[in-house]
Structures are given as C-alpha cells and as structure tokens.
C-alpha cells in the first residue's frame, strides 16, 4: 500500500525526519509511537502534502504512485486520508456541503459519476451513525463550536464518507475521554477491511487497547528505531521511552 524509503524532511531548514523507513500493506494497522518532538506529526504532515515541509531525500510509493509528486488534493483523491490532530474550524462552510463537494471532486478524478443528493444523504446517515455523530452536527459548519470529542468524531465521519485506502490518524486520541475514545476507535475498526490500511500515530498506549495494531513502531529522532508486535506498546507504556533513547544513543 505505502512504502516509505529513507525519508528526510525539514522545516525552516531544520531536519525533522532523518531517514525514515516504513512499509504498510493492505489490511494492516500500524501504530507509530514516540516521545514528543520525535517527528510523528511531521510524518503525517509530509504524507498529506503540507507545503511548509521540504522533502530533501527519500521516496514514498503509494500503490505504485510517487506520492511526493502529487498535490495534497490528488493524494486525497488517490485514497489517502489524514485525520487531523487539530481539526480546523471553518465558519460558514457546512460539513455536508463540503463533503459533497469533496466526494464529487474525488469521483470526478476517478472518472465516476456525481453522487445523487438522495444517495449522498443516505450515505451521511449511514456513516454518521458509525461514530454516533448527531445528524445536526453533520450539517453544521465544519467543526465550529464542536467539542474536542465531536471534532475527532467528525474526522472519523469524514473518513467513513470518503472511504480511503490509507488512513493516517494523527493523535486522534488526544483530548478524548474514554467514551469518545471508544466511539472513535469503534468507528475506525468498523471501517477496517482487507483492502485498506491504517497508520495510528499516538502518544499513549490507551488507544491501542481499542484499535489493535499489527505492528508497533517507535519513532525517535526522525527515524523508526524499533518495531515490534502489539506488546511493544505495553512495554512502552510501562517503561516510557528512556530505555529506547538510551539504546539508540548508545549505538
């Protein structure tokens, strides 16, 4: 699905990613954990195409395409989805209105017909139920006046609407109480299929009780320094990151 090779990226001349390698196959869930400042959100931003970041070296192959050559919108149209750590409030732009535009632009890109208003509304009803998002919220302005939990549920709702091949959840669990966490995780699990994949970026092991990863990676100092099965997350939760830092720094 996605193969990241020796990825180097910097912002304002400061190198954040320093040779990151990662491969995710269809049907897999990968968790990326790591201490603050390790480059977790930078990775998400670079993959989504945020222009402030400059890729200085390396490659990203997304289903046979050179991802780094695509514009942000074309990445989305090819099936990449980023659930934002801080979803943006956009006053006056209604959630459903913008999603219909998004969905139709994606369909046009793929040479499909526009979705009918009726089918679209049916889709909204079906997908908003997955994250228990009130239909009223779905038609309100994008994230405006939403609580933290509602914003994150809205991200997963949008993900459900757009049905991406690869979803990257950037600290989707931060700021969520247990109930919201359960709802969000349940949404992600419902959407999981053998044809799509998920990268879960998180600071806490807690989310991984609900979204069970196939692999856990530790990102530190711009590289993946350790990978392992889901049990690695528990070990990190218990012991923190210092032992990994020590291990890396010793090398």
């Amino acid at each position: 699905m996605i193969k990241i090779t020796n990825l180097h990226a910097s912002i304002d001349g400061k190198e954040i990613l320093k040779g990151l390698n990662l491969e995710v196959k269809a049907g897999e869930v990968h968790a990326i954990m790591g201490p603050n400042g390790a480059g977790k959100s930078t990775l998400a931003s670079v993959l989504a195409g945020r222009e402030e970041y400059e890729v200085t070296e390396g490659s990203v192959d997304f289903d046979g395409q050179d991802l780094l050559e695509l514009s942000t919108e074309d990445r989305a149209r090819e099936g990449l989805f980023l659930a934002f750590q801080y979803p943006v409030e956009i006053p006056g732009v209604s959630n459903v209105n913008f999603l219909r535009t998004a969905l139709n632009e994606i369909r046009e890109y793929r040479g499909q017909e526009q979705i009918s208003a009726k089918d679209f509304m049916a889709l909204v009803r079906e997908k908003s139920a997955i994250v228990e998002l009130d239909a009223k919220l779905a038609s309100r302005s994008v994230n405006e006046g939403f609580s933290g939990g509602e914003k994150k549920r809205n991200e997963i709702f949008q993900m459900a609407m757009l049905a991406p091949k690869l979803a990257i959840l950037d600290e989707t669990d931060s700021g969520l109480d247990i109930d919201a966490l359960r709802i969000v995780a349940n949404g992600v699990n419902t959407l999981k299929s053998p044809n799509n994949a998920t990268i879960v970026i998180t600071h806490y092991q807690r989310l991984l009780d609900y979204i069970v990863p196939d692999f856990v990676h530790v990102l530190y100092n711009g590289k993946i320094v350790k990978s392992g099965p889901k049990e690695l997350a528990l070990e990190l939760e218990e012991k923190g990151y210092d032992w990994i830092k020590a291990e890396v720094d010793a090398q």
């Binding site: 989504a48 195409g49 945020r50 222009e51 514009s71 942000t72 919108e73 990445r75 989305a76 149209r77 989805f81 980023l82 934002f84 979803p87 943006v88 409030e89 956009i90 006053p91 006056g92 732009v93 209105n97 913008f98 999603l99 535009t101 998004a102 969905l103 632009e105 994606i106 890109y109 302005s141 994008v142 949008q158 757009l162």
Partner: protein, 423 residues
C-alpha cells in the same frame, strides 16, 4: 491655482447638462446651483472622500443621454413583481408595469405637481455636497413610491436603473414614502447596458412611518468603465423597521452614501452590505446611523471580498445622541483580501453621548485561512474549490439576509457570471 482648475472641471462637467424641470421648489434648485458655483469636486483632502478619488468622474465630458436603447429586461422579474425602468434618468413607460395594485401610488417625478414633491430635499443636506447638488440641479426624473397607511404590499417593487451610452451623466431622484403601519419590499437595481465612461447619480429619500416595515434590496452591477454615486437618506419614525441590503457586484467606481436618521423610539434598522470586487474596481460604502431617541436597535454588517488590484472603503458611523438611552447598536465590517495588491480602508466609528447603551463595532481584514484551505484540500477539494467555498461562506453571511428568493437568485446568477462560483 488648484481651485481654479477644479472649478473649471465642475463647470466643464455641467456645461452640457440640462437643468431639472421637475416640479419641486425652485429655491432648492437655486441653492444647489449656488453650491455648485462655490464648490469643487471633492478631493481626498476632505475626510469624507479621503480614500476615493473622483477625478475620473470629474473628467467625463458629460451629457444627459436622451436616446432610448433597446434594453433587455432582467430575467429574474416574476409575474407578481412591479417593474419600473429608468434609462439614463428617464422613465421607460414601454418597459414598465402599467397596472398598480391598490394601496400604493407610484408616479414618475416628472408627472408630479409641486405639492406632491414637497418632501424632495427635506432630508438631504446640500451644503458642500457637490454630488447632492448636482442631483438636485439636474435630476431628470425619478420615482415616487407612496405606500398608503395600513397597506401591506405583497408584490415586490423593482426599480431598475439602467445606464447606457458613452459619457452619459444620469441624475435620478426618488422618493419613497411608507405611511404608518404599511409594509413593502423594494428592489433598487443598478445596471448598465453598453455604457462606458458614464456616471449614475441617484438620491433616494426614504420616509418610514410609524410601525411601518420597509426592506430595500439594492443590487449594483453596472459594467466596468462606469461610475456610480448613490445616496439613500432615510427617516425612521417610531416603532418602524427599515432594512437595506446593499450588494455591490460590479462597476469601476462606486460610492454609496447610506444615512439613516432614527427619529422615533423602538425602531429597528438593519444595514447589510456585501461587495465583491476584482480588477481595478473601487467601492466605497459610507454609512451613518444617527440614533436620536431611546430604545432602538441597529445592526450593521458589511462584508467584502477583494480580488486583484481592487480597493474597498468602509466608513460606518453610529451616533447615539445624549438622550438616546437603551440603544443597542452593532456594527461590523469584515474583509478578505484575495491578492497582495488588494486593499481596504475600513473605519468603523461610534460616537456615543448617552450613558446607558450597548454598542459595539469592529473591523477585520485578513486573508483566507491557509490552514482551512489545507484541510479542505486534504479532503480532495482543489485549491480553487476550497477558496470558493470559503469565500462564499464568508460573504454568505450577508447574502443570507436577503429574504426574497428571486432577488437572492438574481444575486447568485450575477456572482456566478462575474466570479464563476456559487454560494
């Protein structure tokens, strides 16, 4: 030296104009001529015209165009609308509605006798006001709309003002009188057809009686190359509601003067404005709300989107006089600059002499939020679609205030045609 040159410009400008033959008082006309003889076109040294240069209007070799053009009428007018068309300040009976429902009197000013025009000039001030004086001295015609007491007019009254031809100077004078307890909806549309280097100068004096409710939708879309100086002077009596939606979508230089005197208690005044500018357009909205008595509410919301090298001016004044307690007055101006060369001068002003009021004013100018555009693009929208969506949401705040669906449809059509997006 400068003065002499300016003086010559005004004299030159009026050289080929025909004095107004409307039946309002000669004294008023003479006063206007005195103003013209003793003043120049305003310069940017005058506070009211600080950001708007009228040199391009002054240098028009103007004449009142007497020709009838073959005009195409607006597509939006539905059967129930009463339509009155003026071309270059002259009434086009051939294009206007002839049957008028009961409860309302509509006449051209040229067909009115002097006693019917006693209200002309009773609200606007002439002193040092060159454009008002020009209008008063040279007005060729205009409409008198008189809504009678207790009458609710369900049909929209659409007054279409069309500018045509080269170097045309058009002067139209309107009177709108809403008697007590009446209700009406009036559309004042300004457009041009094949016009260039022409100027439209219109004054509308509006009298809103006690408990009356009047809404004006003012839609401006004269082609580029033309100029407009449009004034509405409004008098509100007690318990009345007055709403005006000023939507400016085209024109090279547009100056709007909207002055509302709230002379009765328990009034509501709503001033909404939207302007979408591109190329080298310049739009200047000057508004005054003068709260003279207590217990009134005014809401002012102006929003603009400015592309290319266009410039906008917003100057909104709210006065709350000494004894006008318990006034709620809200004023807000927001602008989005869509290019590095776009600019806006925004000046919201409050002058409060009472001590128990709730007033606020504010002005914001910025660009579209890059983070929001990235967010939308990350969901698959093109950058253009993302920008259009955000612009339409921004301006939609104001456009949503237009209650009449056919007017809203007309605005949408014009925006779609001129700017290529929908809201």
């Amino acid at each position: 030296m400068n003065d002499t040159i300016q003086q010559n410009k005004l004299a030159l400008f009026t050289e080929n104009l025909t004095l107004s033959s409307l039946a309002f008082s000669n004294e008023l006309k003479n006063d206007a001529l005195t103003v013209l003889a003793t003043n120049d076109f305003p310069t940017t040294r005058q506070e009211d015209w600080k950001y708007t240069r009228v040199g391009r209007i002054a240098s028009i070799k103007s004449a009142q165009n007497q020709q009838n053009s073959s005009l195409s009428l607006p597509e939006m007018v539905d059967d129930s609308t009463l339509l009155f068309v003026f071309e270059n300040g002259r009434f086009r009976a051939d294009l206007s509605s002839s049957t008028i429902p009961t409860g309302i009197k509509i006449n051209t000013l040229s067909s009115c006798k002097s006693d019917e025009l006693s209200l002309v000039g009773s609200l606007v001030k002439l002193e040092n006001q060159v454009f008002t004086a020009l209008n008063t001295a040279y007005a060729s015609d205009g409409i008198l709309i008189h809504i009678e007491r207790n009458q609710k007019i369900t049909a929209s009254i659409h007054v279409l003002n069309i500018l045509s031809g080269e170097n045309t100077a058009s002067f139209t004078r309107n009177l709108i009188v809403c008697d007590d307890f009446s209700q009406a909806h009036i559309v004042q549309e300004y457009r041009s057809q094949g016009a260039n280097l022409s100027v439209n100068n219109v004054i509308t004096e509006v009298f809103v009686g006690a408990n009356a409710n009047l809404t004006i939708d003012k839609i401006q879309h004269e082609e580029q190359g033309n100029f407009a100086v449009l004034t509405e002077q409004v008098d509100q009596k007690k318990d009345s509601t007055f709403t005006i939606n000023t939507i400016t979508l085209d024109g090279t230089l547009v100056r709007n003067n909207l002055n509302i005197e709230v002379n009765g208690s328990n009034c509501e005044s709503n001033l909404n404005g939207a302007y979408l500018l591109k190329d080298n357009q310049h739009v200047d909205n000057h508004t005054i709300v003068d709260h003279k008595v207590a217990h009134c509410l005014s809401n002012e919301l102006y929003k603009g989107v400015i592309y290319d090298k266009a410039t906008a001016v917003f100057n909104g004044k709210v006065f709350v006089r000494k004894d006008a307690q318990k006034i709620n007055a809200f004023q807000s101006n927001g602008n989005v600059l869509m290019s590095d060369d776009a600019s806006v001068n925004s000046k919201p002003e409050l002058e409060i002499y009472a001590d128990d009021v709730k007033c606020s004013h504010g002005s914001t100018t910025g660009q579209l939020d890059d983070e929001a555009i990235f967010y939308l693009r990350a969901r698959g929208l093109s950058e253009k679609a993302a920008r259009n969506l955000m612009v339409s949401a921004f301006i939609g705040d104001v456009l949503d205030k237009i209650e009449n669906p056919s007017v809203l449809q007309m605005v949408q059509t014009i925006i779609q045609k001129k700017h290529g997006w929908e809201f």
